[in-house]
Symmetry: C3
Subunit: 328 residues, 3 copies
């Protein structure tokens, strides 16, 4: 972390500082920040933080005033924790492709023949960029990422360690002699400003392309099947699985471990709760949950009623016994 | 892709071409194929495809006639998209084991002491083959696959990037001093023609062996516990988890994200729906679903009735209030 | 495996041997062990095993008497299958950090600048230890493990292949221009004697630290979000997901594929069944299950009653029809 002062930071952010100047040598959550730490407050400023980013001034405190304190805190973090940018190709790397200006290639990374890396691309240790891949300017591939041949990644993306992009889609043709593999000869396109989590897998398409839209964010251990289209600005939490050919619109939010069967359509702005099992199309802007998933209002009514189910079953058994008795 | 013509392709496939010959420079789905593209049709031939593989001739169109159009299309893809076969050991690879004829070893791969690779094995970049492993003829290990020591892989298998085969089974003995690790000294055997997805994990056995049967297909991010036996021709979709010592018969089909507790038996030809949680044995040829999983017919009846549960609960509350009132 | 005899093994374990001495050249489960194999019996000794570890002597059999036969068997396995310890740095490894005594660094591993490895640390092939990481004495990192910068791992840990420790937590600030990444500048601390499964992901904290307590055991493909605290001696099965800032007490047991939403508290000794979806705090020592998870007793009553739900719905429909009829 780069040390600074409240005044210098406020200046860099283009925001007013109210109160005394302070040295900033740390960042911390509001409730545990010390006198040299920067914190932010969504609401009331409390605790001991030396400098707080908040919406309103506080008597005797160093407060950087911001309409969206968390956004200003994010901008502060980006200044105080600049990412490593030691350009250059490590001598142990194997580079057969073409590199833009200011590219970093880490130890033991492999850049295949015909691959093209844009300017300032950062390739971590042990990354494998397959033949013919394209990686846009300022994108970072963390250690051990694997791009299968021909995968296209946009600009300013972050792909975390161990992610596998462009492996074969999972498709077998049933025959009397058992399942026969369907070759997967399509592509994978990841648009600009996408973040992909550690050990996440996104398959290449059968014939056409799998596509992850601009600004989409995928957490760790997510599975995206072949031919899937994830729209721009979707946010998909960890361990979600999306089966082949399913399409997400713009800004879909999906909670962790949710699953989607194949050939579904999920509309713009839809929200799907963690752990849901989606087997039907989800209309735009609706919130769905449950296994199988349904509109949240309906699912919540059922979940609330489940607590009465044991008594309903007991009362039914009693009625049946009574009816049987009256028949004796 | 290799360019061809409809006549040459039909000849190579041993199938009749009806209609005019055409140049083929692309492959595509039927509904988006252009005049130089090959497509296939399960039913009625539509669209603009230059050449279609279908069951019946169509007036004025280049049609390759096949009893199973998709199978013929698969065979065409295998001819038009041959997989890379640049034999040779990259100078950066570390090879201490023994290689068959025509083996490819990619950059920065490591073949441990005593490992034995069959003919035409293809080892991707950064693969780690542990000491004493065996890999059969024509098998492909994609980049970053890890084989722990002593793992045995059959012929004509495909193991996708990041898969980890033969790590320790998860087993701890509870003691007053906390959980004590149970060493996992058994093996892992993968039979011929198995495909294993990206970042999938298959654990070695405790004392005996974990075994994946001939022709089985596992998708990405699957977890197979120690001592599990997956029968021949099983097809297991992404993110499925199978706990220790569970046994699958022949040709079991499992949908994505399903889970199986330990020591279960799943019979030949059983089908388990996506997202199911299986905690009991599944008889052969039955279809199960649900959490917990049960025969599909029973599960569907329950799911259908759930929509009435809120009203059942409301009517019960009304009855209870009425009864309480009549007691006043 | 090291060959031995029943007498020598009993001596090494400090346990009495009753019956004849035997050569031991294998280990096996009790029901399949042959005359030169060691097995253990929790109860009655059966089968052909040459030597059995059991609680009581058996006429004419070589039996090593132990109060906890499985624990003694584990200790025997640790002696008979010592783990490889070929100290030394492979010439292909890239080491910029500092190594303790007797450290092993496998082929193509990378130890970043400022990283500090304790004595007898074993680094597998292709491992990436980021700049500034610390790894305690006797810890083993299996092939392809990735430690992001600054991650701290304790002593006597085992981290399996492909695990990614310290990647960014998943956090975006919603704005009118779409989700904005929240930089993750906190750390990750893994205490002593922790085992982490293959391809498991544990994220670094936002500002503070993510922490895995002493002796905790995590299976394969587990996801641990940022700021999570897993207490000592927790045991977490495969494919579990724990969202950000959730806290586990001491000795929590979690079955496979269970999920936890964020900011939950799970008390000491709690048990959560496989496949559960936990959305509320779990009190200490309770067993919970279900989606959403609830106390097991309550969940089991509901599950048992579900089988009556279809009939309840049918009877309700009949009542409604009858009532409608009587209104005609």
């Amino acid at each position: 972390m780069i040390s600074t002062t409240a005044a210098r930071l406020a200046d860099a952010l283009g925001l007013p500082l109210v109160g005394p100047d302070r040295v900033i040598t740390a960042v911390a959550p509001l409730d545990s920040a010390g006198p040299e730490a920067l914190a932010y407050a969504e609401g009331v400023v409390s605790g001991e933080a030396g400098c707080v980013i908040a919406k309103e001034a506080v008597e005797g405190r160093a407060v950087i005033i911001a309409p969206d304190p968390k956004l200003a805190f994010i901008q502060a973090l980006n200044r105080l924790f600049p990412e490593e940018r030691a350009a250059g190709v490590h001598p142990s790397a194997v580079v057969e492709g073409q590199l833009g200006q200011g590219v970093t290639v880490g130890a033991n990374a492999v850049i295949g023949a015909g691959a093209v890396l844009g300017d300032r691309v950062w390739i971590g240790e042990g990354v494998i960029v397959g033949p013919g891949c394209k990686v846009g300017d300022d994108t970072r591939l963390f250690p051990k990422v694997v791009l299968y041949p021909g995968v296209v990644i946009g600009k300013r993306c972050r792909v975390h360690a161990g992610a596998v992009l462009g492996a074969d889609g999972f498709s077998y043709h049933p025959t009397a002699q058992g399942p026969v593999k369907v070759p997967q000869v399509g592509g994978l396109v990841v648009e600009d400003e996408v973040e992909i989590g550690a050990n996440t897998c996104i398959d290449r398409a059968f014939l056409t392309e799998t596509r992850i839209g601009r600004g989409a964010k995928l957490d760790n251990l997510v599975q995206i099947g072949h031919n899937v289209r994830v729209g721009p600005a979707c946010v998909i939490a960890a361990q979600v699985g999306v089966a082949g050919s399913t399409t997400f619109g713009v800004g879909v939010l999906v909670g962790g471990q949710a699953g989607f069967t194949e050939h579904l359509s999920v509309g713009d702005g839809a929200r799907v709760a963690a752990g849901s099992g989606v087997i039907r199309d989800v209309p735009a802007r609706e919130t769905w949950l449950g296994v199988p998933a349904m509109p949240a209002r309906q699912a919540r009514r059922i979940l609330a009623a489940l607590k009465d189910l044991p008594d309903l079953a007991i009362e039914r058994a009693r009625r049946l016994r009574a009816a049987a008795g009256s028949n004796d």
